[in-house]
Structure formats: structure tokens, C-alpha cells
């Protein structure tokens, strides 16, 4: 019980993931003309949006996960009793 309540919050990891995430989004919006032009070329360039989606989901997914944990929104501590 005590161990549960004083579990360390992943503040550091959230900040690092958040900074990377902001940097990715800033790059995407600041360089949008170049990115649109390149990504719309089709063919082998199709891999670019796919890779982008994976990279964003890793960093932003990590950030959002830690974000809710830091706010104290976590999964139920114990599975519901099934009668």
C-alpha cells in the first residue's frame, strides 16, 4: 500500500519526451511546404509518412502516457472482483 502511494512519478521522462515531441511538431509545421512536396511524391517516398507516424507515435505516445501518470490518472490498481 505504502509502496503504491509513494511510487515515483516519471516527471523527467515526461519532460524529455515532451521536448522531443514539441521539436518534431515544430519541424513539421515550420518545414511544411518542403515536407508536403516531398511526401506527396508517392512511390518509394510513401515510406516517409509511415516512418514519420512511427517516430511521432513513439515520442508523443511516450509523452502522453507519462503525462496522465504524472497527473495521477492511472489504471485501476486492482482488477475488479469477478463473482
Amino acid at each position: 500500500m505504502a509502496a503504491n502511494s509513494i511510487k515515483k512519478k516519471p516527471v523527467g521522462a515526461m519532460i524529455v519526451m515532451g521536448i522531443v515531441s514539441i521539436a518534431l511538431y515544430a519541424t513539421l509545421l515550420l518545414k511544411q511546404d518542403l515536407i508536403n512536396e516531398t511526401f506527396a511524391k508517392g512511390g518509394m517516398y510513401a515510406l516517409l509518412p509511415i516512418i514519420t507516424a512511427f517516430v511521432f507515435s513513439y515520442f508523443h505516445g511516450g509523452f502522453t502516457g507519462h503525462f496522465w501518470t504524472v497527473l495521477g490518472v492511472e489504471a485501476a490498481r486492482k482488477k475488479k472482483e469477478v463473482k
Partner: protein, 360 residues
């Protein structure tokens, strides 16, 4: 590709916030019931001036990374059957290709209005049948007072599990039984066809896992995220090869939806399993009215009924979109409310436990 490049809209702060917000709500619902949000996102993007195909492509490109994050989160809670998800996902991919082919043929023969009519009629018929049944089942569970009981496979699922076709049997964790893949293939295929037709494969995928295969609601909705990942990845690649993905739109929606999907996934650990059916059934039934309102518009465009005036068309379109937003918001509200109540109940349980043990 110049025509496609010309389809890229200008992004301002309001557009970004709008996409982020709709992404968040869509993600919240997806994290909980395994799918949803796409039916609002695609028309939502089109209302901003994004060409139809680009809206579908960009939606798909946000869906697969979102589904991946959601599936990983729910895997941690022991709710995902990866094997079932992958097997259904592969056959769903085939269904997507077939469904897209049908769409193209209808569009080539009957034009945009014909294609839209086909989508709307499919929406109404499938959502009325499946959504109505899911909601009825949830209501029955609620009334029976067995909401806390472990879900049992229904008659159909028991029959499916009892059929032994040598050489095709696979054991699935979610079902705790062996089922022939000759049953899973058509279900996956139908899920893919739905995804290609009405953008939400889960409206067929999740109920079929529950009622035909016998998976518990929580496992079915979590496993649907694996199917969505497989389908979304394949679909995104296909569209990206034709340069149709607007990665800015996809990633902005993803920004909101990853906040939402984490929350929706957490929510599943607080609720009674039948709540998955409540949220899914309600959204399906409400969305069916939204699409139903558009049927006269397309019938009129095809000249099958009296031509509707511009004002009537606009009114019906706006009402249809408003109902879709309402469906999603209601789903999100129920998820958040159920989560809040679950959290409060947990706090009370721990507080009383701590008191009994003299820790407070």
C-alpha cells in the same frame, strides 16, 4: 502530383485546435471501444476543404500509430490477444482492398452521389442491425443484475467453438478455446470491408469477436486495436504511394488522439465490461440517424426523388454532422463519467481498507 499538392490546405491556429480536439475525443472513444472517431474525422477534414480521398488517407495515417499506442497500453492490462488481432487483421486487409474496389466501381458507374448513397445505406442497415443488437444485449445484462459477472460465450459462439475442422484450428487466448480460421477469415474480411466502406471496421469487428467467436468485451475491443493497426498501416502505405497523405493533418490529429487513447485505455480498467457494449451500441445507433438524414440528399442528387432545395440540403448536412459530433461527445462523456465513478469507488474501497487495517 500537382493536383494533389494543390489539395493541401492552409493551417491556422483554429484549424489546428479543431483537429486536435476532434482527435482527442476520437482517441478517447477508440481507446475504450477499439474504434470510432473516423466517422467524424473524415467529414470533419472535408468540411475544412480537404479533398475526400486526402481526408480518408490522412485519417488512416493517424489511425495506425494511434491504434499501436492503444494496443500496447491495453496489452499491459492483459486485454489484447495479439494472435487473434493479427489473423483477423490480415484478412481485414483483404476486405479493405475488396471494399475499396467495390467503392471505385460504384463511383465510376453512379458518380459521387451513388457512392455516397451506397455508403449511407450500408451505414444505416449495418448500424441498425448490429448496433441495435449490441445495445439490446447491454440493456439485458444491465437489467439482469449480472453486470459484474464474468461474460460467457453465447450460443452462436459456443457452436463456432465446438466445430473442429482439422488443419485449421488455432487456439486463441481471448477465447480460451480453439477456433477454425475458416470462421475468423470471413469475420476479418467483413471488418475490412466495413473499414473501406464506412471508415469504422470496429463496428463489425468488435461485435463479431464477442458474439461469433465468444471473446469477452474488453478483450474484443482491445484486440480490435491490433486489427486497426494492421489495416491502417496497409491502407496508409497504399494511399501514400499515390501521394495522398497530408502528414500535417494526420500528425495533428494524432497529437490529440494519443492523449485520448491513453485515457480511454485507462478507463477500461475501471468499468464493468458491459459498458463497452453500451458506449459502442449508443454511438452506432446515433450515427445511424446521422447517415440516415443524408439519404434523401443523395437520392435527390441521383434524381430518384424530388430535387431538394439548397437550403434543405444544407440543413440536412449540418444536422447530420451535428448528430455525429453528438454521438462522439456522448461516447466520450460516458467513458469519462464511468472512469470517474470507478476511480471514486476505488478510493473509497482503499480508504475503508486502510481504516480497517489501522493505517489511517
Amino acid at each position: 502530383m500537382h493536383d494533389i499538392v494543390a489539395g493541401f490546405i492552409n493551417l491556422d491556429a483554429i484549424t489546428i485546435l479543431y483537429l486536435f480536439g476532434v482527435g482527442f475525443v476520437g482517441g478517447l472513444v477508440s481507446g475504450f471501444i477499439g474504434s470510432g472517431g473516423a466517422f467524424v474525422l473524415t467529414p470533419g477534414m472535408m468540411s475544412l476543404g480537404v479533398p475526400g480521398l486526402m481526408a480518408v488517407a490522412s485519417n488512416m495515417c493517424h489511425k495506425f500509430p494511434k491504434a499501436l499506442v492503444g494496443a500496447l497500453k491495453r496489452f499491459k492490462y492483459g486485454q489484447v490477444d495479439v494472435k487473434l488481432g493479427l489473423i483477423l487483421g490480415v484478412s481485414a486487409e483483404a476486405g479493405v482492398l475488396y471494399g475499396a474496389g467495390i467503392q471505385e466501381k460504384i463511383k465510376a458507374t453512379y458518380g459521387d452521389a451513388g457512392s455516397n448513397l451506397y455508403v449511407s445505406v450500408a451505414f444505416v442497415l449495418i448500424l441498425a442491425t448490429v448496433g441495435g443488437f449490441v445495445l439490446y444485449d447491454a440493456w439485458k445484462t444491465y437489467k439482469s443484475g449480472n453486470a459484474n459477472s464474468e461474460e460467457k460465450a453465447g450460443k452462436l459462439a459456443k457452436w463456432v467453438q465446438s466445430i473442429n475442422i482439422p488443419g485449421t484450428m488455432v487456439h486463441f487466448k481471448a477465447l480460451n478455446a480453439r477456433v477454425s480460421i475458416l470462421f475468423t477469415i470471413p469475420l476479418g474480411f467483413a471488418t475490412g470491408m466495413m473499414a473501406a466502406t464506412i471508415a469504422v471496421g470496429g463496428f463489425v469487428g468488435v461485435p463479431s469477436m464477442i458474439y461469433v467467436l465468444g471473446a469477452p468485451s474488453l478483450m474484443a475491443s482491445a484486440t480490435e486495436l491490433v486489427i486497426a493497426f494492421v489495416m491502417g498501416l496497409g491502407g496508409s502505405l497504399k494511399y501514400a504511394m499515390h501521394g495522398m497523405v497530408d502528414i500535417r493533418l494526420a500528425m495533428i490529429i494524432l497529437a490529440g488522439s494519443l492523449f485520448g487513447i491513453q485515457l480511454g485505455a485507462i478507463g477500461t480498467t475501471y468499468v464493468k465490461p458491459f459498458m463497452i457494449k453500451v458506449v459502442m451500441g449508443l454511438i452506432m445507433v446515433i450515427v445511424l440517424f446521422s447517415r440516415g438524414l443524408m439519404v434523401p440528399v443523395y437520392l435527390s442528387q441521383l434524381g430518384l426523388i424530388v430535387t431538394l432545395g439548397d437550403t434543405s440540403v444544407k440543413l440536412l448536412k449540418n444536422a447530420s454532422f451535428a448528430i455525429m459530433i453528438f454521438a462522439l461527445m456522448l461516447g466520450a462523456f460516458i467513458v469519462l463519467r464511468a472512469m470517474w465513478q470507478g476511480k471514486q469507488a476505488e478510493k473509497r474501497a482503499y480508504a475503508s481498507g486502510a481504516l480497517e487495517h489501522g493505517e489511517v
